[in-house]
Every structure is written in structure tokens, then in C-alpha cells.
């Protein structure tokens, strides 16, 4: 599974403004839910339920919120680069300015974990994150995310 299979250029946002974790999740989940045609309330609830188990802020300013959702037919993702970092209860207590959201069909098996693992591995790369922060155009962000190998070189 490649990042392109998860991410549509429409779902890459640059310079996104959010005031809080909750507001960011709400706005981003609405954006994604509308694009893929699912109920945005369900998506938001699913994400918040996951956050209650423990924050998906993985450290170094990155968060990967994710949830399972009924009525979805494939795994969909959204990437947002935030204009200002927001508190996210992250593992390292650092505010977050890169968010990769994943919504997964209820019955997705191992694919779901592969997608999460892929995203997690991609955003572990500090140089990758630096580049993502330095870019202010959504198409450029999409190109970086979908072709990490050529960018990392």
C-alpha cells in the first residue's frame, strides 16, 4: 500500500488554521467526511473515542488521528499542515503542526494497520517533517508525501 492509495490531492491542506485539538479534529474530519460521503459526526466521534484511549500525537509535532468507520469502502486519509502549532496532549508534550488523519472501514483487517504503519514510518523521518513544514503549497505537499523516496534523496 502506497501513500497515494490513501491520499487524494484534494485532501492535502496547507497553512490550515486551528485553535485547539478538538476544533482541528472537528474541521478536518468534516472536510474528509464530506469528500468521501460519510457522516461527519460519526467520523468525529470515532476520532475522539480513539483519543480517549491515548493521544495520537506521536511526538515531534506530528499527530496521526485515526478511527474505524461504518459505511466506508476504503481507507481514506487527509494531511494538514497547520499554520500555528496546537496543543495535542502528545507523547512528548510538544504542540502539533502536522496532522495525518486516517479513516478506516469497519471491516478492514490488516490493511488498516499497514496504512497506519506506513504513515507512522513516513512521518518519523525528521527531515521529511522539516520539508513538510517549509512548504506552503498543497500540491507540493502532496508530491512530497506521495513520493517520499525521491524527496528524501
Amino acid at each position: 500500500m502506497e501513500i497515494e492509495d490513501l491520499l487524494n490531492p484534494d485532501n492535502v491542506l496547507a497553512g490550515f488554521r486551528a485553535s485547539s485539538k478538538k476544533q482541528a479534529l472537528q474541521a478536518l474530519s468534516r472536510h474528509l467526511a464530506e469528500k468521501v460521503g460519510v457522516d461527519c459526526r460519526d467520523a468525529f466521534d470515532g476520532l475522539m473515542e480513539r483519543e480517549r484511549l491515548g493521544s495520537t500525537g506521536v511526538g515531534h509535532g506530528v499527530a496521526i488521528p485515526h478511527a474505524r468507520l461504518k459505511g466506508l469502502d476504503r481507507i481514506v486519509g487527509l494531511f494538514a499542515q497547520l499554520a500555528e502549532p496546537i496543543p495535542f496532549d502528545s507523547v512528548d508534550d510538544q504542540p502539533v503542526d502536522l496532522i495525518f488523519m486516517l479513516l478506516v472501514p469497519e471491516e478492514a483487517g490488516a490493511d488498516h494497520l499497514k496504512a497506519l504503519a506506513k504513515v507512522s514510518r513516513l512521518l518519523r523521518d525528521d527531515r521529511m517533517c522539516e520539508k513538510l513544514r517549509a512548504t506552503h503549497k498543497a500540491p507540493a505537499l502532496f508530491a512530497m508525501l506521495s513520493q517520499p523516496a525521491s524527496n528524501a534523496a
Binding site: R50, L53, G59, A67, V91, L116, S120
Partner: protein, 603 residues
Amino acid sequence: MIDAINIGILVVSLLIVIAVFTSLFSSRFGAPLLLVFLGVGLLAGEDGLLGIQFDNAATAYFIGSIALALILFDSGFETKLASFKIAATPAITLATAGVLLTTGIMGAAVHYLFDLPWLLALLCGAIVSSTDAAAVFFLLRLGGIHLRDRMQSTIEVESGSNDPMAIFLTVMLVELIAAPAGEAHTAWSFVQILFQQIGFGIALGVGGGLVIVELVNRVKLDAALYPIVLLGSALALFGLVGTLGGSAFLAVYVAGLYAGNVPLRNAGSLRRFQRVTTWLAQIGMFLTLGLLATPSEFGVVLIPALVLTIILIFVARPVAVWSCMWFFDFSRADITFMSWVGLRGAVSILLAIVPLLAGIEGAQMVFNATFIVVMASLAIQGWSIGPVARWLKVTVPPREGPVERIDLPLPVETDQEILVYKVHPQSRVAKGETIPRWAMPSLILRDRQLLQSHMAGNIKAGDHLYVVTAPGRAGLLDQLFAGPAADDHDRDLFGDFILSPEALLADVARLYGFPLKKGDEEMTVAGAIKREHHGLLERADRVAYGPVDLIVRQVDERHRITEVGLSLDADDLSPKPIVKDGLLDRLKANLTARRKQRGSEDK
């Protein structure tokens, strides 16, 4: 006569200095330092460059015993009682049953392969049955390898405490072989002697420890004399216990353990002095043993000795460790690693002198073979210890980054201490975190000037802070002034995501798609991890649940889980395999599959 003495002094001290400087070379190439010391000894010896004739086994044994006594005393002294407690049972099992098993297996190998009589064969086994603490720890430190507390302590306590058993077995077997025909030793008398040795050793060790501590704390002396009192009385204890028929090595270890864990006057400077003497003892012992050996005689026993090394590394040690550790809560990777760190060292060579002293037939051959086994073990296991630790994933990142801290000694005992910190540029305080009131420095040394803290303004990176604090706060202070912990492998080791320990296993199972066992509906993730680990929980303990691993990220001081990590199939994620060899990859895949299998059986 005077000339000879001067030349003697010149040669001996030059050898020591050369040995020390070779450590530079050693750390650059990761070569086991002790191997280098042995090498210097060999080079100086009769077949080497200097051609020094030294074949006095009794002198070598004398020097070696004193050195070993000092090393063992220090090894006990540096062992924290807390780590002794968490590791005592597994470590002592290894140090007793493990040594016996190793002796038995090696003895059988020697008997059947080389057709030596049983007693002599077992003697060979006993000689190589103990591991070398110094070798193991120097290498772990050198490689910057941090092990999980309990395994670190187990290895530490094992290698500190298995020498007495090996020494006992060796001496016993030598006496048996040397005993005039007709003088019967019953099995029972051996058990009696064993218990006498251990009993005297422990009892007199504790007693000696008490006396040593009283001497240091009660008697008012010039500060420079305390280390001498400490070491002198440790050696006196060694001699006394040996004379009384107890295990002298065990006694000094126990005495060190006691003295190192109670408040001791000038503890800081005593520790520094101990480090010096331990190094000197190590160097002296290895040099002496290197000098004693005659490499030109090694040819005859070279192949048999190498065969024995292979058996020792790949059969005897693993079998001994697995059979002893099976009952304790260690993962397969942990046990495999403990099998691998069975480095042999100076103790084995020292023990190989015992049959020489007793004039046993074939003793020279046994000595030469032992020498080769030790060198081969140091080379093979010593060089590979770092890669093996990383490959088995038994390492943990240090809890905090580099910290520069000095304990200032105080002239009288107080219930406070002065710590000096150098503020690391990436420390929390240097980044602007406010210092808690109790951690306020009294003095600040900045640009070669001492400032009172209210004159100094904001604390800057590179400042030296003089902090007066209650004992036991050092760990907290470290976190304020230390650099950030390296976390390159953090997510490999501690997982991709965090979970609250109270999160319900059922919720996690639904989200990540693994089946839940009946009755687990109310189980928390912390409870699920605890169930799989019967001992004390530690950071980086992990349990496989279907495709994910649950990992202990943080524990509090009572080993309760405060943060859980979730890893998404860590094996699939490893960024770069350390070992690329096809066979090893297959082995690893096999191990992983088995770990997974174990995980699923548990459900």
C-alpha cells in the same frame, strides 16, 4: 642489583602505561580491551618482542588473587542493593547451577572428544565455567548499550558472583586429582566443604563489611588514608576467610556489596579510588597472565582449544543459561543475549594456574588450552556483543541524555549533598523551563567566574550549577540539566502510539482488529501486560496481541505502568535490518514467528 631493580621498575611500569594507552586504540576499533592487555603481556613475554622470561606460576597466582580480590570487592561495592534484589534469584541460580552445568557439559565434551580421564576433563570444564564481569561491562559501556534493568542486573550479579563457585570446583577437582591413591573423598564431604565455603564466605563477608564500614566511619583520619583502610581491610578479610576455610572471593564480594550500600564517609572519593585500583588490578592481572603464557607452545592445543571454545559458546553456555533462566520471566531474546554474554576472562586463566601449582600431569596443556579459549571467547563474543544486542532488540535508550554531574564530598556527614551540574545546551532548563525552588543552585560558575545565583540572572547552557539538595534528588535534577535522550529507536522500541494504562483492552482490540479472549471484556491494557509478565514490570516490556504489541513505556517507582505504547507490527517496520546475512534473516523470521505464536497461544 640496584640496576636490575631499576630496569625491572622501568619495564613493568612502561608495560602498564603502554597497556593503558592501547585502550585508546581499543575503543577506536571496539576491540575488547582486556584482549589488548593480554596481548601486551604476550608481546612482552618470552616469545614476544621483549622476551621477558617469566614462568613463576606461584607469583602469577599471587598477583592474580590479589587483583581478583580487589576487582570482586569493587564489583560488589558498585552493585546497587536494589539491582541486587531484583536480580538475585536468577543471577544466583546462574552462578551456582549454571556453573555446575557448564562444568558438566564442558567436562563431558573434553572427556569424549579428547579422551582425557573424567576428573581432568571436569577440571577443564570448571576452569572455564565462570564469566568475566569486567569484560562484559566494559564492552557494554563502550558500545553505549543500555540493557533493561533486570537483565543488566542479572548479568552484573551473575558475573560478580559466579567466580567463587568456579574457584571452589577447580580447587576441589585439583585436590581430588592430586590426592594420594587410597585417600577417599566421599561425595558427602564435598557437599560439606561446599556449604562450609559458602557459609563462611557469606557470614564473614557480612561481618567484614560491618567492620570495614565502622572503621571508615568511626575513625578520624587524613582523607587520603580512607581508601587504604578500605582496600587494606578488604584484602585482610580475603586472607582471613581463605585461611579459615571459607570462600575468600565470595567474602570480599559480599563485604563490598555491604560497604557500597550503606552511608560511608567520603563515599565519592572512595569510589573514585576504587575505580583506579580496579583498573590497575585488571591491567596487572592480564599483563601477568599474558607474561606467564608461552605462545610457542600453543600450537599443539590450538585446534582442540578452538573446538572447545565453539562448544562453550554455542552449547554449554546456552544450555546452562536456558535451563536456569527458563523458570524466570525472561523473554527468549533476553535469554539468548545472556547466553551470548558469557565472556570468559582472567578468572579462567587464573584458575588454570591452580593445577600447575599442584603439579598435576598435563597441567601445562590445560593452561595453554584455557588461555586460547579465553582469547577466542573475548574476541568472538566481545566483538559481537553490540550488534547482537541490537539485533535481539534487548537494548533500551537511556532514560535521559548525557549529563555532567559531580558529587562534591563534604567533610562531615550531612543529610544534604552538593551536586555540580553542567547545563547541557539542549536541557530543559537551557530551553527556558523554570527551575523548581528545591533545585535552585546556590552558586553558578560561568566564564571562570563564581556568581551567587541571584547575581547571575538566567541560567545559560554551559553554566556549572552548584546545587544543595537532599539525597536521592539527583535523578530529578538530571532530568532538568541533562541533554535530551537519544530517541532514534524510540518508536521501534516503545511503539507508534500511546495508550492510557486504563484504556480497555476491548476498545483497543476492536480498533486494531485482534480477537479478545473470553473474560477480558473489562481488562485494561495495563492489566493485560501485567498478566503476561510475572516479575516486576520495566520499561520496554512488551506483549504481542495479534498484529500489535503492547509495550510498557513508563513505570513509576513502584513498577506500576503509567504509560503504554502500541506498536504496529514492529518487525515489519524495522527501518534497516542490522544483519543482512540470509541465514540470520531466516533465523530472525523464525524467532519472530514463534514469538507471535506464543502471543496468540496466550489468548
